[in-house]
């Protein structure tokens, strides 16, 4: 009996959480037009989430590309098809690996920073102080961070993919001796503009998901040291799970 009650309680909590995230998103969206009047705040957040994530994105991209080159070559050379490594790498990176890994790194690097920053503002009563001064903390704090992350993630994903392709090329062409012309021309023949668009759409969707989760978790954090820590952890966990679930659903839709 008590198990059912616990399950029912958990389900109710889950419904409440989903509902309040949705309401939070709607409250932010309602403020977007007013937030756009102060682009400085958004630029600052693009710097915080995007520009500061650049180094980690580039390094990870390079190494993921390099390992893709090694493993792909290992398999493809069995069929004498090592020249189609470029095709596999470009499509795999554009459609799946690029946006997903970027989103996971983004959640770890930028999402945690957002959540802990807003959570600390909550814990140190800065958000309440803003309300006292008739400054809407959603407009001043939440929306610029949300928009900044939303703009930064697709751009980061594109940079990640370009660098990763360079990594693939570095290993496959420079080190393992795949013919450079065949590598690039086969890639060029097989990749369509739609594939780049797919990657861009995925990047935008994960941008919304990751920034929303980070900002929401920070904004609703319990105002203690422990609460802020927990909000930061939850940001990474929920973002990662959501990105992977969303990725499956988007892939199903895009393969149609």
């Amino acid at each position: 009996m008590s198990i059912f009650r616990e399950l029912a309680d958990n389900f109710r909590e889950f419904l409440i959480a989903v509902g309040s995230v949705t309401l939070f998103l709607l409250r932010m969206l309602a403020q977007v037009p007013r937030a756009l009047l102060r682009p400085r705040l958004i630029v600052e957040q693009i710097y915080n989430t995007g520009a500061l994530s650049l180094v980690i994105i580039m390094i990870c991209g390079l190494f993921i590309g390099a390992v893709f080159g090694l493993q792909g070559y290992e398999v493809l050379q069995r069929f004498g098809a090592e020249e189609s490594l470029g095709v596999g790498a470009a499509l795999g990176l554009l459609k799946e690996l690029g946006p997903v890994v970027t989103a996971l790194l983004f959640a770890g690097r930028a999402g945690t920073a957002l959540a802990s920053e807003i959570g600390l503002m909550r814990a140190t009563d800065q958000l309440s102080a803003m309300e006292m001064m008739a400054v809407d903390p959603i407009l001043r704090v939440a929306v610029p961070r949300f928009l900044g992350g939303l703009i930064a993630l697709p751009l980061l994903a594109m940079i990640f993919i370009a660098i990763a392709l360079y990594g693939v090329q570095l290993v496959a062409v420079q080190q393992l001796g795949v013919d450079a012309a065949a590598f690039w021309s086969q890639m060029r023949a097989a990749v369509e503009v739609d594939d780049v668009t797919d990657g861009l759409i995925k990047g935008c969707v994960y941008g919304v998901a990751c920034s929303l989760i980070a900002v929401y978790e920070g904004y609703t954090a319990i105002p203690t040291a422990e609460g802020v820590g927990r909000a930061t952890t939850r940001t990474v966990v929920i973002s990662a799970v959501m990105v992977l679930i969303l990725n499956y659903m988007l892939t199903v839709v895009m393969l149609r």
Partner: protein, 172 residues
């Protein structure tokens, strides 16, 4: 003030890098579709079997891509697949009695339409139909034929030798 300038500068650099990457991906690693750059005309061909030919597959002559498959529909009145192809207008001297066949690129590659030039004086125009076609090779049929010929060999050696393939000839 100084710190805000560097913020703006690095944000600008980041945005620039992002768009540069996007530009690189769109222009350098994608194929530009044939229909986009310049004029083209449409011809059609009717096949008994198109195998796994897909919309957007290449149409090539002598290995050079000259067009793309525009659409594939099944015509119920003749029970054949109608393949409409868009061919680059630059290639306007393809004889009307050319031969269209469905071929496979490499061992594992996708299928494409290969056109072999005929000898006629008239050239294909928009809306024309290529009459001489060769269907896709269906692996099952091929295996069936092979199995049948092997079966013959086991049962009646003299018969299979008389109508055997060329590989038997050097032995004689």
């Amino acid at each position: 003030m100084r710190s805000t300038r560097t913020t703006e500068m690095s944000t600008g650099l980041f945005a620039l890098l992002g768009f540069a990457a996007l530009f690189f991906l769109v222009t350098q690693i994608t194929n530009r579709e044939l229909s986009v750059n310049g004029k083209s005309y449409e011809v059609e061909a009717r096949f008994e079997n198109i195998g796994s030919l897909k919309q957007g597959a290449a149409v090539s002559m002598a290995g050079v891509t000259i067009g793309r498959v525009q659409s594939i529909v099944f015509d119920q009145s003749v029970y054949k697949a109608v393949v409409r192809m868009k061919i680059n207008a630059a290639y306007d001297r393809i004889p009307k009695d050319s031969d269209a066949s469905i071929m496979t690129a490499g061992l594992l590659g996708g299928q494409y339409v290969g056109i072999t030039a005929g000898g006629g004086e008239e050239y294909l125009k928009n809306g024309d139909r290529i009459e001489f076609v060769q269907d896709a090779l269906v692996l099952e049929n091929l295996i069936n034929q092979l199995a049948a010929s092997f079966g013959n060999k086991g049962g009646d050696a003299s018969k299979s030798e008389s109508d055997g393939p060329e590989s038997d000839k050097p032995k004689e």
